[in-house]
Symmetry: C2
Subunit: 248 residues, 2 copies
C-alpha cells in the first residue's frame, strides 16, 4: 500500500497482511481476484473483531488432532495462503512430515512457478525439508472440471486428511466426495467451503497457522466434533456485535 503504517496503529496486523498480499501480487504469485478475496476476508475478520474466538481456537485444536492422527496428510495451499503464511505452513508440514501441494484456482504456468519458487526459497531460508508438489500434476479430483481438478497422486489424490485454507466451495465439496477428511480455514461462516468441511476454523489464516504450530507440538487427540455448532457460534459472535449496536 502507499502509506507507512506505524506499529501502534490499531489495525497494524490487518494492514501488514494487506501488504503481504500486495507484495505477492507484484511478484506474480496471485490472480487478480486475490485482492478482492482478501478484502472479503478483511470484512469478516473485522466483524469477528480481528481475533481468534474460542470456537475457532477449538476448531484449530481439532484440525491439529486430525492432522497428527492422519495416515497421509497434505496441506493444499493456494496463492493467498502462501502469500500470508507460507513460512508457517512450511513449519507445519515439517512437523507433520507431510507434503505441501500448491493448488490454484486460476492456474497459469507463470503463477504456479512464482508460488513454487517462493515456497522453495522460504524452505531454504528456514532450513526445513518439505516436499513441494503442484508443478507436475498426474491425477485428477473427480467431478471437478478444468485446471482446478489437477492434483498429484502422491499428494492430494491419495491423502486421507487435507488441510485446505481459503478454498472454494466446489473444490472443497469434491474433496469431501472423495471420502477425505477436509479441514478448512475460512473467515466466512456462511460459505460453502465452511459448510462442506469436516472441521472449519472461522479465523484468519496467519493466526490459524501460528496456533496450529503450537497445537501440533502438543499432539492433541480427536474429539466428537460438531462443525455446525462451531459455525453457528461464529455467527452468534457477529450477531452479538450487531444486535442493538445503535442506541435509539
Amino acid at each position: 500500500m502507499d502509506e507507512h503504517v506505524d506499529e501502534s496503529h490499531p489495525r497494524y496486523n490487518s494492514l501488514m497482511m494487506r501488504k503481504k498480499i500486495s507484495n505477492a501480487g507484484q511478484k506474480g504469485m496471485l490472480a487478480e481476484s486475490a485482492m478482492i478475496a482478501h478484502g472479503r476476508g478483511e470484512a469478516f475478520d473485522y466483524l469477528l473483531g480481528e481475533q481468534t474466538i474460542p470456537s475457532a481456537m477449538d476448531a484449530t485444536r481439532e484440525i491439529a488432532a486430525r492432522l497428527v492422527a492422519a495416515q497421509k496428510p497434505v496441506l493444499s495451499l493456494n496463492g493467498n495462503s502462501i502469500a500470508l503464511a507460507g513460512p508457517e505452513f512450511l513449519k507445519i508440514a515439517s512437523q507433520l512430515g507431510c507434503p505441501i501441494e500448491i493448488n490454484i484456482f486460476y492456474r497459469t504456468p507463470e503463477r504456479m512457478g512464482a508460488l513454487i519458487a517462493n515456497l522453495k526459497l522460504a524452505k531454504q531460508n528456514l532450513g526445513l525439508d518439505v516436499e513441494i508438489l503442484g508443478g507436475m500434476p498426474d491425477a485428477r479430483i473427480p467431478n471437478l472440471d478444468g485446471p482446478r481438478g489437477a492434483c498429484h497422486q502422491d499428494g492430494i489424490f491419495n491423502a486421507d486428511v487435507v488441510l485446505v485454507p481459503l478454498e472454494d466451495g466446489d473444490r472443497c465439496q469434491a474433496l469431501k466426495a472423495m471420502g477425505k477428511d477436509v479441514l478448512v480455514v475460512d473467515l466466512n461462516p456462511l460459505s460453502r467451503s465452511a459448510k462442506f468441511a469436516s472441521v472449519t476454523a472461522v479465523d484468519e489464516v496467519t493466526r490459524v497457522a501460528k496456533n496450529l504450530i503450537k497445537f501440533i507440538a502438543e499432539r492433541p487427540t480427536k474429539t466428537q466434533w460438531d462443525n455446525e455448532k462451531a459455525l453457528q457460534d461464529a455467527l452468534n459472535h457477529i450477531v452479538g456485535t450487531m444486535s442493538n449496536h445503535y442506541n435509539q
Copy 2:
C-alpha cells in the same frame, strides 16, 4: 477476471461489478487498495443478500430529497464510485445541475488524470453538460491533512449538501464538522462513515445510483430522518440471516 460469466449466473451482477473494478484498475484509475476495498464491500453486500433492503430504499429517497432541496449540492466521487457508476452519477449531476468533484484518497496526478478523462469521455458519450472538478484544487477541508484535504472552492468547499459514496471516515467527519449535510453510501453499517453521515444508504453504489435517478425525477420532500434507526435496521437484516442459520 479470467473467467467468462454467463448472465444466468446467480451472482452475475456482483461479478460484472468486479469486472468494472478490474478494468478501471487496468486503466490506472484506481489505487492498489481499491480491489481490497471492493472485496470488503462484496462481503457486506453478500450479507445483505445483494439487494436493496427497504430501509436502504428509504435512505436513498431521503438522499434524493436533500439533494433536490440543496442550495449548492455536489457529488464527491472517488475512484471506485466512478469505476462502478460513473455514467449514473453524471446523469444525477445533470438532473441536479450540480458539479462532480473527484476526490481520491491516494492522490497521484496520473490517477486523477485517468479519472477526469474517464468521466469526460462518458459525459461526451451521454451528451450531458456536467462540470467535472478535482484537477485544480484551490481550497482545503479544515483538519484533514495531506492530499485528501484538497478541494475546490466552487465544489466541495462551498457546498451545503455533499453526496460522498464509499468515503473514508476521517473525510466524512471533517465534512460534517464544516456544517455540511453529508450523504453517504456505504455497505458496512458499522463503519465510521456510516455513523458520521447525516443519511447513510447501506447499499451497493450502482443500485443506489440507479434508484437516485428515479427518485430525483420524482422530487421527493425531506423527512425527519433517524439515521441510527436505518443503520440498526441494516444490522438487524444481517442478524436475521445469521441467527439460527445452522440447525443443531
